[in-house]
């Protein structure tokens, strides 16, 4: 598993070069944005059940056959598995966001996920839709552009508007999930 720092190291080592000023600029930004990054991760961890439940509910609303007998979310046992998977994906996205690198998400979550779903008969098109909704919800909560109350309590007094860049990064990790399932 890599993070933003070790990713730089691995690519520098491939060239056999020491890490100088240019490469360090990005890392300095990562360090400077550490508080925002932690806040953005908190936005996920404090709303896991809400994000996952909303996404699965949205997926079912758009395709009500899923919860009917014969549907993929029937009986409740399979619906529960679906909610659980939503939370697992959110967990790995939160790890990747904290580390500033997607390797943990790719190695430990996405590698083989599509094959597993195909083997288990999970419809990937519905799974992708749920991930899309999770992405939208997460970005909205992170940037405080959701309707209603502020949904997370960060360690900074700063507002969600400061999390814009990090939210874009989080969205890119959800896109990786979607790509892996497509």
């Amino acid at each position: 598993m890599l993070d933003a720092f070790s990713r730089t190291v691995v690519s520098a080592d491939a060239k056999g070069a020491a890490i100088g000023s240019e490469d360090l600029a990005d890392l300095r930004k990562y360090v400077a944005d550490a508080n925002k990054r932690i806040d953005a991760t908190l936005a996920i961890t404090q709303n896991v059940s809400c994000i996952a439940a909303d996404a699965v509910a949205g997926m079912v609303c758009e395709n009500t056959g899923l919860t009917q007998p014969g549907g993929h979310c029937y009986p409740t046992r399979r619906m529960a598995a679906c909610l659980r998977d939503g939370e697992i994906i959110l967990r790995y996205v939160s790890y990747a966001l904290l580390a500033g690198d997607s390797s943990v998400l790719e190695d430990r979550c996405l590698n083989g996920l599509k094959e597993t779903y195909l083997a288990l008969g999970v419809p990937t098109s519905n799974a992708i839709r749920a991930v899309e909704i999770m992405k939208i919800a997460t970005v909205a909560i992170m940037t405080e552009t959701n309707t209603g109350r502020k949904m997370f309590k960060g360690i900074n007094s700063g507002s969600g508007a400061q999390c814009q860049d990090i939210a874009a990064e989080a969205a890119s990790y959800f896109d990786l999930v979607i790509e892996a399932l497509s």
Binding site: I19, V31, A34, T41
Partner: protein, 155 residues
């Protein structure tokens, strides 16, 4: 590769839980110290050749090692300093451990290399070169900590 963040994430993943408040504290703690080590890494990168040449010249000056091996010694010292540069960036000893120290004893033994020359060179860098001229006190402390770590591993 081991760093402050990956250690925390691995532990959280092994337990199947989301990163907790104490995880964030530990990550934040490592970021608070990151400024000094990134400075040390930057300055070391710009002085890598200078430090290497100064150290190797000093070691080979007294004639106790074969001059023919000097180029190889320069190459190796340069290599180790580059790994120290990486360690300063990651904030852990991962790069030195994985790419410099593991397997090193075996190689040194089989090729009958004089490790004393390496140790002398690193001690020279640690004690004789005025590192303070190029980097701040805190950055120097970070750099010397890793030099000590390497010297102990070689000894």
């Amino acid at each position: 590769m081991k760093s402050a963040v990956t250690t925390v994430v691995s532990a959280a993943d092994a337990a199947g839980r989301f990163p907790s408040m104490s995880d964030f504290e530990s990550v934040k703690g490592s970021f608070d110290r990151a400024k000094d080590r990134l400075e040390a890494a930057e300055k070391l990168a710009s002085c890598l050749d200078k430090f290497t040449n100064l150290a190797v010249d000093a070691v080979y000056q007294n004639g106790s090692y074969e001059q023919a091996n000097k180029d190889k010694c320069v190459r190796d010292i340069h290599h180790y300093l580059r790994l120290i540069n990486y360690c300063l960036v990651t904030g852990g000893t991962g790069p030195l451990d994985e790419w410099g120290i593991s397997g090193m004893r075996e190689i040194i033994r089989i090729q009958l290399l004089p490790t004393a020359a390496y140790i002398e060179a690193f001690i020279f860098i640690r004690d004789e070169i005025k590192i303070n001229d190029v980097m701040s006190q805190q950055a120097e402390t970070e750099f010397k900590g890793l030099l000590d770590y390497l010297i102990n591993a070689l000894a």
